[in-house]
Amino acid sequence: MRIPRGELRRSRVVDDAAAVLRAVLDEELTGYVVFEPQDALLLGETTRGVVTFEDGIPVLAYDTEREVGGRDGLEGFAVTGPTRAAVHAVDAAALADAHEVEAFRIPPGEPARVLAGDERLAEQTVDAAPAARREEGRDQSAVEAFLDDTDAIEEIRSEAREEARARASEWGLDDVLADDAGDSAAIEPGTDSR
């Protein structure tokens, strides 16, 4: 992934990625923001990702450390706690090539949702986006392919199951876990439908 180096507008540590995304939306930035979660640094790890923007609307996301783009990339640097956000402006024309990389594109509301958990901001961002962008992330064949991949889906489910059980203990909700949760949730595809 190559993003043309832009002009640094500002760089500061913020508690909440939403504030940065909102500012960028307001000023209709064309360029990119580098996010660097600070807690990871303390642990001696580097977590860093880039979100690019066109007129304030997020276009693509890329995890520069793991070299993963798109929504998966975004999740790589969605770390709670303070994050350094460096806002850069770039010419729209200079960004055009990078923005062609379909696999790294994200629906406009995703950064607000994933990085900041801010549903209202996500909604505002989608509302402010051009009509064509609002329909993005809706590739029917991709959805069908996803649903056809039973192994991948079983992995999502079993991960969620484990997470649910681990968190239940964390939250003292052990007692209300279903005894047979493991079984009932592990229904094979095909037997769980109507």
Binding site: R71, P107, G109, E110, R113, G117, E119, R120, A122, E123, V126, E135, G137, R138, Q140, A142, V143, E144, F146, L147, D148, T150, I153, I156, R157, A160, R161, E163, A164, R165, R167, A168, W171, G172, L173, D174, D175, V176, L177, A178, A181, S184, A185, P189, G190, D192, S193, R194
Partner: protein
């Protein structure tokens, strides 16, 4: 009390609040319906139901030494009993999510169908509690990969707590999308049935701006028809009222978020 449903999706913006009120209004034709904004951290049902200036809300029922009665937070609107939640962050922080169980138990005693508009997250006790308390979930999905993936997660959480899936609503379906095939594939993983495919509709946004549920603002809109169809498919179970009350009692009360 017949049954409590959590309207859930894992992530926000899929149309949980819209669906909660639409299903609520449709079910209110046949049942006594109570709708609760259990999304206590990011409440917005009040805006959808014209209750922006509600004096007493769920937040007032979740504080330690509350002086409000549960009934003070119940508003009769659009043929349903609506329990809105406030939007103040301070009130959210002062609220003890564990008290939701008692409030829900009290409301359950007096109604047929409870609909819990659930949070768009799974990362805290307060966020999963509605799914823990409900008998079944209604999963609201958009026909996209992230939404389906989040829906699968919330379903696993629900199943872990013994909460089954009543069905799936596909919402915000674009005119050129055919969700039949997706619904058929998704049916292999989601429990219950496909309840409806609700089209993307300007009437839904307009309704929200008006502060009215869709079925009150535009009852003849195709999206409203779809929600009525979903409600009709929802086989509300004649559960044992005592069972529910028991479960609410035995649900361990988490102390704080």
């Amino acid at each position: 009390m017949v049954e409590a449903f959590a309207v859930a999706s894992g992530k926000g913006g899929t149309g949980k609040t819209t669906s909660t009120l639409a299903l609520g209004m449709a079910l209110a034709e046949d049942y006594d319906v109570t709708v609760i904004d259990a999304d206590t951290g990011m409440a917005n049902l009040l805006f959808h139901a014209g209750l922006d200036d509600a004096d007493v809300t769920l937040h007032d029922l979740l504080v330690d030494e509350r002086d409000a009665a549960v009934s003070d937070a119940v508003y009769e609107r659009f043929g349903m009993s609506v329990v809105p939640c406030g939007t103040s962050l301070a009130a959210f922080e002062a609220a003890d999510p564990g008290r939701l169980r008692d409030v829900v138990a009290e409301l359950a005693a007096d109604t047929d169908v409870l609909l819990l508009d659930s949070p768009a997250a799974l990362g805290s006790k307060s966020a999963v509690l509605p799914v823990v308390l409900a008998d079944r979930i209604v999963v609201v999905l958009q026909p996209t990969v992230p939404s389906l993936s989040d829906g699968l997660k919330v379903q696993e959480y629900a199943h872990s707590y013994g909460t089954d899936t009543a069905g799936v609503v596909f919402n915000r379906v674009q005119p050129d999308e055919n969700v039949d095939r997706i619904a058929e594939q998704a049916g292999r993983y989601f429990g219950g049935q496909t309840l409806a495919s609700v089209p993307e509709s300007d009437a839904v946004r307009a309704a929200r701006r008006e502060g009215k549920p869709l079925l009150a603002h535009a009852p003849d809109d195709p999206a409203a028809d779809a929600f009525r169809e979903a409600a009709a498919r929802l086989d509300v179970r004649d559960g044992d009222g005592r069972d529910v009350a028991e479960r609410f009692k035995s649900a361990v009360v988490p102390e704080r978020i």
